[in-house]
């Protein structure tokens, strides 16, 4: 292993320029379409809102969002922002837990050679199906099934049974539950496929060996599948977390009356969108507040990301890096010594 690494290192010297060529398009496009907008957002977060957009206000937007202030506007924005953050966490946890549970369970079942589930292929296809559907259509569909509207399916049935119609959007438990259900419904098939391709990526000879050694399904799962699946679970966790923090479509669309976004469904993403978008609900674009909220969302994501990234880091690489660091240190020390020696 060490030999081949060394070999490739020697060989790759003349090929380094290809490395740059291969990764150049990515970084050029990324800088133009993402990095600059990010910097732009950062700059905007220090400027005023609405008509006062050109006025430098320093950290005022951050202060307003995090701690409120002595006027009504600051307090209201603070409340809304904090609430939107809480909403985001609740909605994400509420859809991630059932989603990862279902998809892991199904992935393990579907890849277990000892289980004979008829129609496996059919199930996989059907369970992935909701994910292929546009979120807006899904929202529209569920709005017709269950919403504030008295003409939504559930309310019509309730009325026929002699009950009062329920305004499902107005009740935090109902509406959050519905949004969580829709999110799980849409995403568990997707996660399941990711998990399955992870399990199938595990060298089948390992399973064969375990089988020959007479390991039970449970043992195989605990000793082989789950540990080897860890990177895949972590990957899913990262992507789902990023997805969760930007949860937008369903919470944004799940309301009947125009512009009446519910306080208990407003996620951070919806909050930001409302702020930078000029319109009826927010009269003038509030780039400052939107920018500050974006940057805070960025910081939270980064902290979570680093945490997960550390968990995921492959141990080999850590050791190699340490060794390299040691080498560099050693080299520098010797250089220093030589330098000092020279001077003396």
């Amino acid at each position: 292993m060490m030999a081949s690494t060394a070999q490739s290192r020697i060989k790759s010297i003349s090929y380094a320029k290809y490395g740059y060529m291969f990764i150049a398009p990515f970084f050029i496009v990324y800088a133009f379409f993402q990095i600059w907008p990010l910097i732009n957002t950062f700059i905007l977060s220090f400027y005023g809102n609405g008509d006062a957009a050109s006025e430098f206000v320093g950290l005022e937007n951050y202060q307003t969002l995090l701690f409120g202030g002595d006027n009504r506007r600051s307090r209201a924005l603070n409340d809304t922002f904090i609430q939107s953050f809480i909403n985001t966490v609740i909605l994400w946890v509420g859809n991630f837990i059932p989603q990862i549970f279902l998809s892991l369970l199904l992935a393990v079942w579907f890849t277990d050679s000892k289980l004979h589930i008829p129609g496996k292929g059919f199930f996989k296809v059907v369970m992935y199906l909701p994910n292929i559907i546009t979120a807006v259509s899904v929202a529209a569909l569920f709005m017709r099934f269950i919403s504030n509207s008295q003409t939504s399916a559930v309310n019509i049935i309730l009325a026929q049974m002699g009950n009062e119609p329920i305004k499902f959007e107005n009740d935090p438990t109902w509406s959050r539950g519905i949004v969580m259900f829709i999110q799980t419904w849409m995403w568990f098939g997707n996660t399941m496929i990711m998990m399955m391709s992870g399990i199938l990526g595990i060298n089948p000879s390992l399973f064969e060996a375990a089988n020959i050694d007479g390991a039970s399904s449970g043992q195989t799962l605990r000793k082989i599948t789950l540990p080897l699946l860890k990177p895949m679970v972590v990957y899913t966790l990262i992507t789902s977390m990023i997805g969760g923090l930007q949860m937008f479509d369903i919470p944004f669309l799940y309301h009947t009356a125009a512009g009446d976004i519910k306080d208990h469904l407003r996620t951070v993403a919806v909050f930001i969108y409302e702020q930078f978008r000029a319109g009826n609900n927010v009269h003038n674009p509030q780039y400052g507040v939107a920018g500050a909220a974006s940057i805070m969302l960025f910081i939270v994501t980064a902290i979570l990301g680093i945490f997960v990234f550390r968990m995921n880091r492959d141990q080999d690489e850590v050791r190699k890096k340490k060794e390299r660091k040691e080498l560099v240190k050693e080299y520098k020390r010797q250089q220093k010594l030589a330098k000092n020696g020279g001077l003396d």
């Binding site: 081949s4 490739s8 290192r9 060989k11 790759s12 380094a16 490395g19 740059y20 060529m21 291969f22 990764i23 970084f27 496009v29 993402q34 990095i35 600059w36 907008p37 990010l38 732009n40 957002t41 700059i43 079942w109 289980l115 589930i117 008829p118 292929g121 059919f122 059907v126 992935y128 199906l129 292929i132 559907i133 546009t134 807006v136 259509s137 529209a140 569909l141 569920f142 017709r144 019509i156 026929q160 419904w185 391709s197 992870g198 399990i199 199938l200 990526g201 990957y235 992507t239 990023i242 923090l245 937008f248 479509d249 125009a258 951070v268 930078f276 974006s294 940057i295 994501t301 980064a302």
Partner: protein, 295 residues
């Protein structure tokens, strides 16, 4: 199968387990399918029927009427709704984006895996870092830059070109290449006198097909479903409306509440993509599984 008592017992347990799993799967499949089936059936009933029987499992005969109400009729319910325009536009955006995403992500991942150069680790760390950035973080600056500074409102450029840089896909591809793409092959190719770019195209890409297939599906779906970005860029040109924006406009149409027409509009937005998916599903799901086993 050896006929030993213990083995028989074992088989029985496995069989019971299988049946249990099957029932759970059946239930989940029903949860996935029933809403869609009800939607299709409801799209074929008029609003009077729907106001008393809101959930139908049997199709009715009013689809033509509903379709008339959502197409450009005399009193068109949703004047801006034209499924075919929506399909065409969404296909253009999602198709181009997907190709760009998988190709350039594979290329970037290949560059990061195969070559050793000074900024490699830094570049990879950067990609890992930016992977965490949600699109909402940059959207304020993005819209201002694209629409305000560059005047690209209604243009597809801001929707397609950024697909070249998809950090999460690069991350996934690199993971995949690290675990299942032997670098020896590259060396062998070099010895055979194969150019670097050709090695990538003719050896690396075919070998990474399983990963590319998975990522292509996800990229396509993500772009097809993307309402957030599209809605920020495609502001006003109805000819360029994509499917999600059209559906949103149907929902927002307040003056002619007609449940049948709404179901029909939503169904039309869903059915063709579902049909295409079902046709390709064997390839999609099977390809994923096959690719995994091979390596």
């Amino acid at each position: 199968m050896e006929h030993v008592g213990v083995k028989d017992n074992y088989m029985l347990i496995q069989r019971i387990k299988s049946i249990g799993c099957f029932i759970v799967c059946l239930l989940l499949a029903a949860i996935c399918l029933v809403p869609l089936w009800v939607m299709i059936c409801n799209a074929t009933w008029d609003r009077f029927h729907l106001s008393t029987t809101p959930i139908n499992f049997i199709p009715g005969g009013d689809f033509a009427e509903n379709f008339y109400n959502i197409s450009k009729g005399e009193m068109a319910q949703f004047p801006d709704f034209n499924v075919f325009t929506g399909y065409r536009n969404s296909l253009i955006i999602a198709g181009c984006s997907t190709i760009l995403t998988v190709f350039f992500s594979a290329m970037t991942a290949y560059g990061l895996t195969v070559y050793n150069f000074k900024i490699r680790d830094g570049a990879y760390t950067l990609i890992l870092a930016v992977m965490m950035i949600p699109v909402q973080v940059t959207s304020t600056g993005f819209v201002q830059f694209m629409v305000g500074t560059l005047g690209l409102a209604n243009s597809y450029i801001p929707l397609i070109l950024p697909a070249i840089a998809a950090p999460a896909v690069v991350f996934y591809m690199r993971q995949y290449m690290k675990s299942s793409f032997p670098l020896d092959i590259v060396e062998a190719a070099r010895i055979d006198g194969c150019g670097e770019f050709r090695t990538f195209i003719s050896i690396a890409i075919p070998m990474c097909k399983p990963a590319i297939a998975v990522q292509a599906i996800f990229a396509f779906v993500a772009n097809w479903n993307n309402y957030y970005t599209q809605n920020m860029i495609i502001l006003s040109d109805t000819d360029r409306y994509t499917m999600p924006i059209m559906i949103q406009n149907v929902l927002g149409q307040d003056k002619h509440p007609d449940a049948g027409a709404q179901y029909a509009a939503v169904a039309l937005s869903i059915i063709p993509i579902v049909v295409i998916y079902l046709c390709l599903s064997k390839f999609i799901v099977g390809g994923v599984a096959l690719g995994g086993v091979k390596e």
